[in-house]
Amino acid sequence: MPTPYLVIDGLTKVYERGQVHALRGLSFSIEKGEFLVVIGLSGSGKSTLLRCINRLIEPTEGKIWLDGTDVTRLSAKRMRRVRRRIGMIFQQFNLVDRATTVRNVLTGRLGYIPGWRSLLGLFSSQDKQTALANLERVGLRDKAYARVDELSGGQRQRVGIARALMQKPEILLADEPVSALDPATSHSIMQYLEQMNRQDGVTVIASLHFLSLARRYGTRIIALKDGQLVFDGPPKTIDNAKFKEIYGEDAEEVEVR
């Protein structure tokens, strides 16, 4: 039997000298090509989970197997190699506001470029072509030389997607990609992620706040509460009772259309 693409085994993260447990022995696995949505309240450990996968946050305990390699045991140098295959987009977009759009997109390529050349800021013309093509793909070709602080929130997140595309990722981690955006823009961003998932076969792990978005785009949903798995299954199987269990008794479902 082939092993799953990504296996999380007993993942635990403790912050602040043992005071805060963000993740408590989390275990699950994902097959290649899935669109996994992680839901849960703020502080339930969603961001920590995503950042443990590419080790932006160092896990306290547990193992993470990506395509057969245990990423928790890699040296810093080999971890950088693995990170090239893992794209990431962020809630606050994490772009350099003062730089141009195309500059920001090109930083997605840094993992592939030797140190001395990137130090001079020299990107190959091929990389530049790819950057422009990726901007074309997210509909921002005409904004390539505009500064990022001139763009709207939705446009910024599309720049973030183009930057992740530069890595030609196998897997994409999306940390609340639409939390800072309005509902209409949210759908457009989610559709780009869906397109990456279906057309390029990129495995997507996205944390979301709205259950309606999770149902619409996810092929599978997991829910976290206090760092533990409280639900794992296809979107349809989350009913009202499950919803209350995840979000608490007083929660009311909000629809994003």
Binding site: Y15, R17, G18, Q19, V20, H21, A22, G43, G45, N54, L56, R80, R81, V82, R83, R84, I86, G87, M88, F90, Q92, F93, N94, L95, V96, D97, R98, A99, R103, T107, G108, R109, L110, G111, Y112, I113, G115, S118, L119, G121, G160, R163, M166, Q167, L173, D226, G227
Partner: protein, 425 residues
């Protein structure tokens, strides 16, 4: 994310609370010590200058100072027990009963006496993990004060703490005035002499603005005011460029968010920051007097070296504070894309800080021009050489001319660099 009950950090937290208490106690002790010092000074002043030989000497005998120190310690202890403590107030705590509303005066006095027993026994109750003995026996404790939203506070100045601050401030002013011992009457008395100098300076002699002054020479060469002005501006420029170029790489080594990942990183950070702070606190004029002896009195090189050293430290500190203030998001993005530390700095930090680096550098050039006009006083070269030469000759009309040129140059630099900084920001 819920805190674990009990918690492994509890003893550590208790020590933290105790050290805060010790700090607030020290504040009280120091406040009373300060009052005692001021009172002693005032008494001394009174007896020595007003009532000479009335009571002989007020100098304390050898056992006097320990007595004063112990007396202020006692004052601090009793104030803290009786509930009027600046130190407790400063860390936002107050003495409160464990149960009930008020603490009787008797219990407060008892606590004051028990304090003397409790402090020598501190190792015992700390080791046992108990509350301080004097608190436990009188059933009180220091609790964090939260303002009552129902009862808005009076205006700060009208509270008893306002009066205490006002009293300390007034005392400081009185004693300070006596300590520096200045006499403002000379300003009036010697006004005629000053008037002559002002008059000459306001009739400036621009004869040697472009033509070299045959009387003034440096190493057998004569210079005009304009010559030395140009030299001064370029001294400042060279020092700023050299200093900026050297401060640039150092500033990343002195930034916590770039270095603080490993013990070696922390060590580098500490060394670099220490270097910045020490070298910055030694003023340019002191550096100039050192370099004047090293490379030659009155040479331009001495001035440039002095300005450069101070510029490295000053710009380095400003730069690294900018680096520490960058938004962490882009850094995270470059790490996530598989970037190395050097790539994070190059592609996430530098684009964020470069505009403010330029602004600070321009500002520094402006400062360096101003500094360069005076370092000649200690042998740093530049226009100051001329200024101090004419001053020593008593040729105030020429001094006036040089000063006016300096004012014009500094004003122009200030204006230009201000406009450029506006454009950048």
């Amino acid at each position: 994310m819920s805190p674990t009950p009990g918690g492994a950090g509890a003893p550590r937290d208790r020590l933290k609370v105790l050290s805060r208490r010790a700090f607030s106690f020290l504040l009280d002790w120091m406040a009373w010590g300060y009052v005692a010092y001021c009172v002693m000074y005032l008494l001394n002043y009174y007896w020595y200058t007003v009532h000479v030989d009335w009571w002989g000497t007020l100098t304390l005998p050898s056992w006097g100072w320990p007595v004063v120190i112990l007396a202020t310690l006692e004052l601090a202890v009793w104030c803290r027990s009786l509930g009027r403590s600046l130190g407790q107030r400063a860390i936002g705590v107050a003495l409160r009963p464990v149960a009930g509303e008020r603490i009787s005066v008797g219990r407060r006095v008892l606590r004051g006496f028990l304090w003397h027993l409790s402090v020598p026994l501190a190792p015992v109750w700390i080791a046992r993990g108990e509350e301080p003995l004097h608190d436990r026996l009188t059933q009180v404790g220091l609790r964090t004060e939260t303002p009552d939203p129902e009862r808005p506070g009076r205006r700060a100045i009208l509270t008893q703490w306002g009066f205490v601050s006002l009293f300390l401030g007034a005392l400081t002013m009185c004693v300070g005035w006596l300590i520096i011992g200045i006499n403002l009457q000379v300003l009036i008395r010697r006004a005629p002499q000053a008037g002559r100098i002002w008059g000459e300076m306001l009739r400036p002699d621009f004869r040697y603005f472009t033509a070299p002054d045959p009387v003034f020479h440096l190493r057998a060469l004569s210079y005009s005011i304009l010559d030395l002005t140009v030299v001064t501006v370029f001294m400042a420029l060279v020092a700023t460029v050299l200093g900026g170029v050297m401060a640039f790489p150092l500033s990343f080594l002195g930034a916590r968010n770039v270095m603080g990942f490993s013990p070696a990183g922390w060590a580098t950070y500490g060394v670099i920051r220490g270097f910045f702070n020490v070298f910055r606190s030694i003023e340019t004029i002191i550096w100039a007097s050192i370099f004047a002896i090293w490379v030659g009195y009155g040479t331009v090189l001495a001035g440039i070296l002095a300005l450069t050293i101070h510029t490295i430290a000053a710009l380095g500190k400003l730069y690294s504070e900018q680096v520490e203030g960058v938004s962490p998001g882009p850094l995270e993005a470059v790490w996530a894309a598989g970037g190395s530390r050097i790539q994070v700095v190059r592609h996430a930090v530098i684009p964020q800080v470069l505009p403010s680096f330029w602004a600070f550098t321009l500002y520094r050039w402006d400062i360096n021009v101003r500094m360069a006009t005076v370092i000649a006083l200690v042998g740093g070269g530049g226009i100051g050489d001329m200024l101090f030469y004419y001053k020593n000759q008593g040729d105030w009309s020429k001094v006036g001319a040089v000063v006016m040129v300096i004012v014009a140059v500094v004003w122009a630099m200030d204006y230009i660099s201000g406009r450029l900084r506006e454009r950048i920001a």
